[in-house]
Subunit: 328 residues, 2 copies
């Protein structure tokens, strides 16, 4: 394990590290990855839109990280931690949309050690009107397989430099319910209580005993944001999912079907102990009505880390930002 | 002219406005625009990299706008107002790079009236190692003509909805020196003093008397950021440029050759009344040495406004942010 002081000086002298042939290979793979995702989505009828960078409202469901707040001409604004609520605005105009969205989350200091947390990252954020969560899981599987195939062909030289052999996963990916996932990680020695989010150590352990990506579906309502739809015939359970990479790389994708009814969203916000006034334009929009939809976000740097087989996430981006470390 | 209260309520109810056929057409043209730029640049050997969102250092040369600052684990960070200094870091690794970069600039309240200022916008940021400013101006002309041609073919339906007839400009574009541009705008009744930036009203007037895009080159050192190269045989004059759209649409592109010598940059920073300590990693990098380069940024929303023939910039982006107005 690399020491904190070494890591600090490595990150501060980023301009030297960036010149290594390995980093150049990573950046070229990353360019091709995003380009292949764009090609896949546009071929499937998705339109790319410009993601918001700041706004009065952002995603509250960010697992213990803090948002960046500042005064926007006297009113509190946030730097986006996720554009989920904005995707729900746009699908009434364009039913299949995606963005490469900027996200800032000031993670707890202990995430320095996880090798997979950045405070600044991008997601390919995808949303589709009138789709079910099964529809978008199928879309994600097709996208990931198509992109991995293209990388194998177009980035042979770079993968050789990185000494990475990419395995092609078989479709459909294996699917666990949240309940099954909790049972497995607890059998591995963890103590995850039903109703809690799986913590990153449990996710990593679960990821390590797989050699292909796999789904965890149907999380309990208590573990996730207010914008996920509850199963109509299974109260307390959401129609949502995570995709985990194999080999210990952990979380790849989060997504699900959306709750769009004003009164149910209000109730969920209040039950979560939040002030509905924070969600001004969003609640007004729900009151007027929006189409149902499903979608997900796939982290660009984590995908790069997995595809390139990198130990540390900070090598999967040109200008990495880690909790508590000042770097370019 | 639209009233301020009307504008506020229009922007706050963005989810309704976005459903109009005109806005959908704009968003589809925008998707194609960015996609065509990416195709052009990748075909010309450019690699796309992920732009920084926040950092300890950003561009100081932002014409009277304020930056967003916040505490990053106790240290002052900014939301990027331009990634120029980061492009200079990356070209030592990848000699031809571009990004679609996020930019936040809290503009003065009077910019509500300009119809061309947003506080949140994106630039296609391009940089090429060992290129002259003439090289990248040629690149910009080719890029713009190629993209306009593609839009005319691929977005016929949308341009009809928008009632926009796009004229194809002839290459090379007309070129004025800054000195000539000052003479022309002063003959139009403005009072721009030699050495000052052309203000937006003067730029708009100059833009109105043209029907094709045109360059203004060789700005005086006093009007621009410290990172532009001084003409070796013409002290006080920079090797830089702006491109202006015709028909009153104003500024399109800003760019130039970079000053890379540590001591000269130090002198320029100090002459500008700034504290060099603010530029920590950047100055250290220059001391160690970086390749010379040239590059530019082209504003995505302003390009969209020009191509779609929109009166107001806030219709050229899904979630517009205007100085002093709280909107999604």
């Amino acid at each position: 394990m690399i020491g904190l002081e070494t890591l600090k000086s490595l990150l501060q002298e980023r301009y030297l590290k960036l010149r290594s042939s390995k980093m150049v290979a990573v950046l070229k793979v990353q360019d091709q990855l995003i380009s292949s995702i764009r090609d896949f989505l546009r071929k499937n009828g998705f339109v790319e839109i410009l993601a918001p960078i700041i706004g009065p409202v952002t995603d509250p469901g960010i697992r213990g990280a803090k948002q960046v707040s500042f005064s926007y001409y006297g009113v509190e604004f946030k730097v986006m931690s996720s554009m989920i609520l904005y995707k729900q605005m746009i699908i009434a105009s364009i039913p299949k949309v995606f963005s490469v969205s900027p996200n800032i989350r000031l993670e707890p200091l202990e995430t320095i050690k996880t090798k997979r947390h950045l405070t600044e990252f991008r997601q390919v954020d995808i949303e589709q009107a009138f789709a079910s969560y099964n529809d978008v899981m199928r879309l994600a599987e097709e996208m990931l397989c198509s992109v991995l195939k293209e990388i194998k062909t177009k980035c042979q030289v770079e993968l050789e430099i990185l000494e990475r052999t990419l395995k092609m996963p078989a479709k459909p990916f294996r699917k666990y319910t949240y309940e099954e996932a909790v049972e497995i990680v607890n059998s591995l020695g963890f103590h995850v209580k039903y109703g809690e989010e799986l913590n990153w150590k449990a996710e990593e352990a679960l990821s390590k005993i797989h050699n292909e990506p796999f789904w965890i579906v149907d999380y309990p309502l208590t573990a996730r944001g207010f914008y996920y739809l509850e199963h109509p015939d299974n109260p307390g359970i959401l129609r949502d999912f995570d995709l985990l990479y194999p080999e210990g790389y952990g979380e790849a994708i989060s997504g699900g079907e959306r709750e769009t009814h004003y009164s149910r969203v209000m109730e969920r916000i209040q039950r979560g102990g939040e002030d509905p006034a924070k969600y001004g334009w969003y609640l007004k929009m729900l009151k007027d009505g929006i189409p149902p939809s499903a979608g997900f976000g796939i982290g660009v740097e984590r995908l790069t880390r997995y595809v390139c087989g990198l130990e540390n996430i900070w090598d999967a981006v040109p200008f990495p930002k880690i909790a508590g470390i000042v770097s370019p």
